[in-house]
Symmetry: C2
Subunit: 194 residues, 2 copies
Amino acid sequence: MIDYLIKYFDNYVALEEEERGFIRGNISVREVLKDEILLSEGEVSTEFYFIIKGCIRLFYTVDVEEKTAFFYTENMFVSSYESFTKQTPSKHYLQAIEPTKVATISFDVAYRQLEQIPKFEFLARVMMEEELIVYQEIISSFVTLNAEQRYLKLLSSNKSLLQRIPQYQLATFLGVTPETLSRIRKRVSSKPIS
Amino acid sequence: MIDYLIKYFDNYVALEEEERGFIRGNISVREVLKDEILLSEGEVSTEFYFIIKGCIRLFYTVDVEEKTAFFYTENMFVSSYESFTKQTPSKHYLQAIEPTKVATISFDVAYRQLEQIPKFEFLARVMMEEELIVYQEIISSFVTLNAEQRYLKLLSSNKSLLQRIPQYQLATFLGVTPETLSRIRKRVSSKPIS
């Protein structure tokens, strides 16, 4: 299973057998249950994840209301950078929305990797670039689109994901009530496909 | 002036004289006018910036309306990562809100730096970590706070910045009309300081 991560790295850089060995010896695969919380608000993040299969939701709570910022899917790295790098309490939750398989990279291993294997500096940069692009995407979507436009964007970019997300979670992502979400779905499905 | 950037790097890593020379020879300082646009929507980003003095606003346009996502100030790196690294059209604008001095790092220089001076791999990572933290901050602020709370946050975290931002730009950051902003300011200034 960990070879799945190694194969992903292979897209970016040629790893020596020794480096593969380091990954196999230090990064473990974890099965996460549906609805299981990987990180809570207030907790210090000690690891980050690479999704082999499944989906992880990043959400905030305001009073008791959940506000979803992003859904991570296969082949994405999931981290709480500020908390992880500065070892400060996380401001958000990470939760699996379905049975999920992740490669787990601990704080210690991440820093040991970077010290022992210079190649991983390059990998760390590539991973962070991907993460930055995701964040810019989230920001532009929150700033420029309304609920219906965000629904349509998800529909066109990742239709299969839309079918995997529970309705109440999707509503917290769009920032609307479940009732408004129903209305959006009806309106969208009755529109001719352009 | 470029020594200001070198001094900033010194906080992170010890640079050799030759490396300082590379920076001096390849990174230039640019004076940007108030309201000058550094990057437009649709343009491909070919450089990124380090603010020595001044303030740069990141904004989107929706129809003709401006939506401000962030204000960068002194000692921050400003980049349009997706556009810069993938050489795709930018989705947002970068604009100086006051006379601003930036160190300008071009696409070519950035990649040459990374190839020639392994130390810059480390620096690139640290800069990106800072950038990721800024983005998480923007996301959490958009997702969890309303206009008045965002105004209060800016007031407590960076009061002097608040005084530098033109009112209409501040309104586009809070997502309200200038009239609503006036009401928020009045309400906040009449509250006892807690």
